[in-house]
């Protein structure tokens, strides 16, 4: 094969490498939906700038924050626990923040953690599951004050 062909192939191959990189990056860009209307249908920043009517109403002022955790049902009924800025571990294990004397709860059953102005609950792989307003948890979800959280036979609520 002539030298010219080989040189052409050499540079052609480097080009091919970068064509692959740029195709992958452009596939990712579409994947991340940058600069397009997001899947949720919310308008993008650019659309809002062009058309101020699209902007959503500013978020409601911060709701009354939960300040304490109350056990409303179960063996520990009536117990209250003040909520600070640190996560709370719920379960039967001795090291839990709230030790549940409930045979239907796991050792480390669930955790409550603050994020922004809200509290979230997350199941820690318990045997019998955690229920937020009668829905079994499959991921971390925000807990609004007054919504019952059931762990075994215990029901807790957040109160302002």
């Amino acid at each position: 094969m002539s030298d010219l062909t080989i040189t052409a192939l050499r540079f052609g191959f480097l080009l091919l490498l970068w064509v692959l990189i740029f195709s992958i990056v452009s596939a990712m860009r579409r994947d991340l939906m940058v600069g397009r209307k997001a899947a949720s249908g919310a308008p993008t920043a650019r659309e809002v700038r062009k058309n101020p009517d699209l902007a959503e109403a500013p978020p409601q002022p911060v709701k009354q924050q939960a300040r304490q955790l109350v056990v409303v049902e179960g063996p520990l009924k009536g117990t209250t626990l003040p909520l600070a800025a640190s996560p709370v571990l719920l379960g039967r294990a001795q090291e839990a923040t709230l030790v549940l004397e409930d045979d239907y709860a796991s050792g480390r059953h669930a955790r409550l953690f603050p994020q922004g102005s809200r509290w979230f609950i997350e199941d820690l792989g318990s045997t019998n599951g955690t229920y937020l307003a009668d829905q079994q948890l499959t991921r971390a979800l925000p807990v609004e004050p007054g919504v019952p959280v059931r762990i075994g036979k215990t029901v807790i609520e957040l109160r302002p």
Partner: protein
């Protein structure tokens, strides 16, 4: 717990298009390496190219069928890297040697195992049940090369291989996966204890020893065995994995500070106590001194000369002399590729790794369970750290240590482990990008194997 939302779309056709491009890179490289010697289309070329293409398309087919929401760019990236490595190894084979076909054999085995992981595991959350089994498995895998009988003895100054029939295998490569599973499982249930219980000393909070016990045991096992096996690279990898996963789980920067201090202190002590570590550091700092060159830094310096010879655009595949560098097809494959593809080509390769790692972290951001987040972070970080240690070593940024370049270097165990990592990341990205799965994990059959969440009594009635 941040979550990003993406439109729910399988995007498998995008993957197919990118995969064809990636195969063009891999097969094109394999053709280029022989083009000036008029052996471009020899039987090895046809054999390797067709099998690589068939395996990659089969993998794609399995993803369509079994994990259709998996990330569409991961597989093409890995196939392109694997193809480039295969081409370079084929190119470096002296007449009569069979390293290229051996690498192909391991590629096929590794892809088959990764397919099996995706096919049978289905949901990465199941791995959480094997938290403590993974710890035991890691310890076993790390101790195996020291056991007489199965050990392959000391090869190139390190005792990390075992003998399996005619082949040798490096169990430490698989141990990084089992350790990541253990760290993810343990930290996802215990991070609050590590975070909250414990006493404060100054600005740093130290956890109770009891809560840290299993983590410290895991760390000691990996470091201890690796000191006896004299494998510096893997101990850096395991320690880095440990620090990063605990940092991701607790978001305390103090862990990174403590970790870096321990690495520097440990490195200083090791360089004084172990002659092989001292030799590595000396070969890094005084690489160009003639005495050091003769016994230590020759490999790195030859690699640097090779890359300098390649320059910006490289000498062209098959046209340089990377074979002058010792271990040109394994430890120094980055230098070989740097010589023949130039700076432009090596940047493309580094960028491929970067994209692969970002897709792993993207899967971690998207998935909804803490275990999956930690596992995806840990596995992606393991790939990233491996690249840093190897490429940094070859370019003399840090001392050269014995880690393999993921997917490129000749070596079966490393290929197998890295393909399993890709399989797991694809599975995690499948749950991350798919529609929200509202069904809880099916209860484990038989005995509860987690050992951490066992209640005294499960619900008896349905």
């Amino acid at each position: 717990m941040s979550q990003l939302s993406t439109a729910v779309k399988p995007r498998r056709n995008v993957e197919l298009a990118l995969l064809v491009l990636a195969l063009a890179v891999g097969i094109g490289a394999n053709m280029m390496v022989g083009v000036d010697k008029e052996k471009a289309f020899d039987s090895d070329f046809w054999f390797q190219s067709s099998l690589l293409a068939v395996a990659a398309l089969a993998f794609h087919g399995v993803l369509r069928f079994r994990a259709k929401y998996a990330d569409p760019v991961m597989l093409p990236l890995v196939v392109a890297l694997n193809g480039l490595g295969l081409a370079m190894i084929h190119r470096l084979d002296p007449p009569g040697a069979d390293t290229g076909n051996n690498q192909l054999r391991w590629t096929l085995i590794a892809m088959a195992v990764a397919i099996a992981v995706i096919w049978f595991l289905k949901d990465h959350r199941i791995l959480r049940r094997f938290t403590f089994i993974s710890l035991a498995a890691s310890a076993l895998l790390l101790v195996l090369p020291l056991v007489p009988g199965i050990s392959a003895g000391e090869i190139l100054g390190a005792r990390v291989w075992i003998r399996l029939g005619p082949m040798t295998f490096q169990p430490g490569e698989v141990a990084k996966i089992t350790l990541a599973i253990f760290f993810a499982g343990y930290l996802s249930s215990n991070r609050d204890l590590i975070l909250l219980a414990g006493r404060k000393l100054g600005p740093l909070q130290f956890p109770r020893f009891k809560d840290m016990g299993p983590m410290i045991a895991a760390w000691l096992v990996s470091i201890g065995v690796l000191i006896f096996q004299r494998d510096l690279g893997s101990s850096v990898l395991f320690f880095g994995l440990f620090i990063v996963m605990i940092y991701v789980a607790t978001s305390r920067i103090s862990w990174v500070v403590i970790g870096l201090a321990l690495i520097l202190g440990g490195g200083f002590v090791a360089s004084r106590v172990f002659s092989h570590v001292e030799q590595r550091i000396n070969g890094w700092l005084n690489a160009f001194t003639p005495e050091v060159y003769e016994n230590g830094s020759r490999q790195v310096i030859q690699g640097l000369f090779g890359m300098a010879n390649g320059g910006l655009v490289g000498t062209g595949l098959g046209q340089g002399r990377p074979d002058l560098v010792p271990f040109a097809n394994s430890d120094m494959i980055i230098a070989s590729l740097g010589e023949e593809l130039g700076l432009i080509g090596i940047f493309a390769i580094v960028l491929m790794y970067l994209l692969l790692v970002t897709r792993g972290f993207r899967a971690a951001l998207g998935t909804r369970d803490a275990f999956g987040k930690l596992l995806a972070c840990g596995l992606s970080f393991a790939v990233a750290l491996q690249c840093f240690v190897v490429i940094g070593g070859v370019t003399r940024l840090i001392p050269l240590t014995g880690l393999t370049t993921p997917f490129l270097a000749a070596g079966g165990s490393s290929l197998l482990a890295n393909w399993i990592i890709v399989g797991l990341l694809l599975l995690i990205s499948h749950t991350a990008r798919g529609p929200v799965d509202t069904t809880p994990l099916p209860p484990s059959k038989g005995a509860d194997t987690t050992g951490i969440d066992t209640p005294t009594e499960a619900v008896k009635q349905a």
